[in-house]
């Protein structure tokens, strides 16, 4: 399993816009869909959004439920004397296709939920074209793709740039809050409101 694929899953969870094919790829691949599910669960836990009863493997349950369906609906393959090879393919393809549909439906639901949370992540992130990766990364370990050193170092630089700029923006916002004291002093001098002064007296050491 290439790390690239996990990266796609990760960026999909992070709401980065990716191609439909990538989503299809995730859905078709058992391991990737599992990874997807775990990432979503991690996200939910971090957001303190976990339901009372955890349905840990919902996608598998849906898939199993759909698996049961075609036994009623599917035409009998055994009747025809077609090559057993083709029959096997049909058998193989069918349930998988249905799993794919179910999983993509689940995928859409999750995407919808994710989109609702966009603004929250955006709050501490500079512009969209800069903001993609989370600070505590689900991004793949950088050392894995040693075949493409230039690309990796570029990506590393990109992640570092984001981290640096986000750190600055975050610190700026925090510092403003702490600085309120000082500007309030200026304000007090200018403002005719008496209440603050009275309170100030109350707070003087006795």
């Amino acid at each position: 399993m290439s790390e690239k694929k996990f990266e796609t899953v990760s960026s999909c969870v992070d709401d980065v816009i990716i191609h439909d094919e990538s989503i299809d790829e995730i859905i078709k691949d058992k391991e990737l869909s599992d990874t997807w599910g775990r990432y979503q669960l991690m996200g939910d836990i971090m957001r303190n959004d976990v339901p009372q009863t955890l349905q840990l493997d919902l996608s598998a349950k849906i898939a199993a439920a759909i698996d049961d369906e075609p036994t009623v609906l599917a035409p009998k393959n055994t009747a025809k004397s077609e090559s057993s090879f083709k029959a096997r393919i049909i058998n193989f393809v069918k349930p998988l296709g249905q799993v794919a549909i179910a999983a993509s439906a689940a995928g859409l639901m999750v995407l919808g939920v994710q989109q609702n949370n966009v603004s929250q992540t955006n709050d501490i992130a500079p512009m969209q074209n800069i903001q993609t990766n989370p600070l505590i990364g689900i991004a793949e370990p950088v050392s894995f793709n040693y075949q493409q050193p230039t690309q990796m170092s570029k990506k590393q630089a990109y992640i570092q740039q984001q981290r640096r700029l986000q750190a600055l923006l975050f610190d700026h916002k925090q510092q403003i809050k702490l600085t309120a004291i000082n500007t309030a002093e200026i304000k007090k001098a200018n403002s005719p409101v008496i209440i603050p002064l009275k309170d100030k007296v109350e707070n003087l050491p006795k």
């Binding site: 709050d123 700029l165 600055l168 700026h172 702490l178 209440i195 603050p196 309170d199």
Partner: protein
């Protein structure tokens, strides 16, 4: 002819500035429950904002972000508490809620901005189903963004606000979606009255630190140093010299530290109207953060120089 048009302009400025005074009076003295959205980067962030004055004349205030993790600012007169996901809850002794989407100066003395900005009345419009007065706050130089406010004709309350570039592009908008005045305190504020505030943290009174090695030589007119110190950024753990400047409306942070690289080209990104500028020149990393244009941020960063020791004493 010239003199009449001049006096007309003067009258307009006069009118605009009395509108702004009325706005700050409303924000300070009235009981209100409001909802608004902040629109930036193609996202909308919804907020609730309550303000009231209790029987003893003390102001109570709540500002809550409604999406994502809880991010609340609570104010009981001279104590402002912050509840946010990154840090344990804390309070600061102050009379204003800072860092919110609506500049704190709006509920303070707005006319103090007259040094750096012109106020212009732009006529009327309709916002939130009400008749609104449009006021522009325009920088006297090219180094700042402008603000456009829509104020309620009846109450002078803020109904809408835009931060716009000199070219007229809107960077950030606040649009009120609900506004209600009451004679009683709004319900959430009554709860706040009974609630305990998070522990007050100490911010050193003497906020100007003289042990810094760097100074900023150029800032747009009207900017004053608010405080400076030496601290670590909480995310990257980078130790840095820090200076904070304000012109009353806009806060600008300057960060200066040694870098591991010798040179890095200037980077500038924006989150709404807030720009983050960063560059490394001769091994020194300088960053400027605030609601200012990229060119202003670069000029500030380029003006940073080493304090000579004899000057520093």
């Amino acid at each position: 002819m010239l003199s009449t048009s001049f006096s007309a302009l003067a009258a307009e400025i006069e009118q605009a500035s009395s509108w702004l005074s009325a706005l700050s009076q409303s924000l300070k003295t009235r009981n209100f429950s409001t909802s608004f959205v902040v629109i930036k980067n193609n996202h909308a962030e919804p907020y609730h904002w309550f303000h009231g004055v209790d029987e003893t004349g003390k102001e109570l205030e709540i500002l809550s972000l409604l999406n994502g993790p809880r991010r609340d600012v609570l104010r009981k007169n001279n104590i402002v508490g912050y509840i946010e996901p990154e840090l344990p809850p804390y309070s600061v002794k102050t009379f204003q809620m800072s860092g919110g989407p609506i500049p704190a100066i709006f509920s303070g003395d707005i006319t103090a901005l007259e040094k750096s900005y012109n106020f212009i009345s732009l006529g009327k419009s309709r916002v939130l189903g009400r008749s609104a007065q449009i006021i522009r706050i325009v920088s006297k130089d090219d180094n700042r963004f402008g603000y456009r406010l829509w104020l309620d004709q009846d109450s002078s309350m803020l109904l809408k606000m835009s931060v716009i570039t000199r070219e007229g592009n809107v960077l950030e908008q606040v649009q009120f979606t609900h506004l209600e005045f009451s004679t009683d305190l709004p319900e959430p504020l009554k709860k706040l009255q009974a609630a305990d505030m998070p522990p007050v943290i100490d911010v050193p009174e003497s906020t100007v630190n003289n042990d810094l090695h760097w100074k900023v030589n150029w800032l747009p007119n009207g900017f004053k140093k608010i405080r400076s110190n030496y601290h670590r950024l909480s995310i990257t753990k980078q130790a840095t010299e820090f200076l904070l400047f304000s012109d009353g409306l806009v806060d600008v942070s300057v960060y200066i530290n040694k870098s591991s690289v010798n040179h890095r080209a200037a980077e500038f990104v924006m989150n709404g109207a807030t720009g983050v500028f960063n560059q490394v020149v001769k091994g020194i990393e300088v960053s400027v953060v605030g609601k200012i244009p990229a060119t202003t941020a670069k000029s500030i960063a380029d003006s940073v120089s080493l304090l000579s020791f004899n000057k520093k004493r």
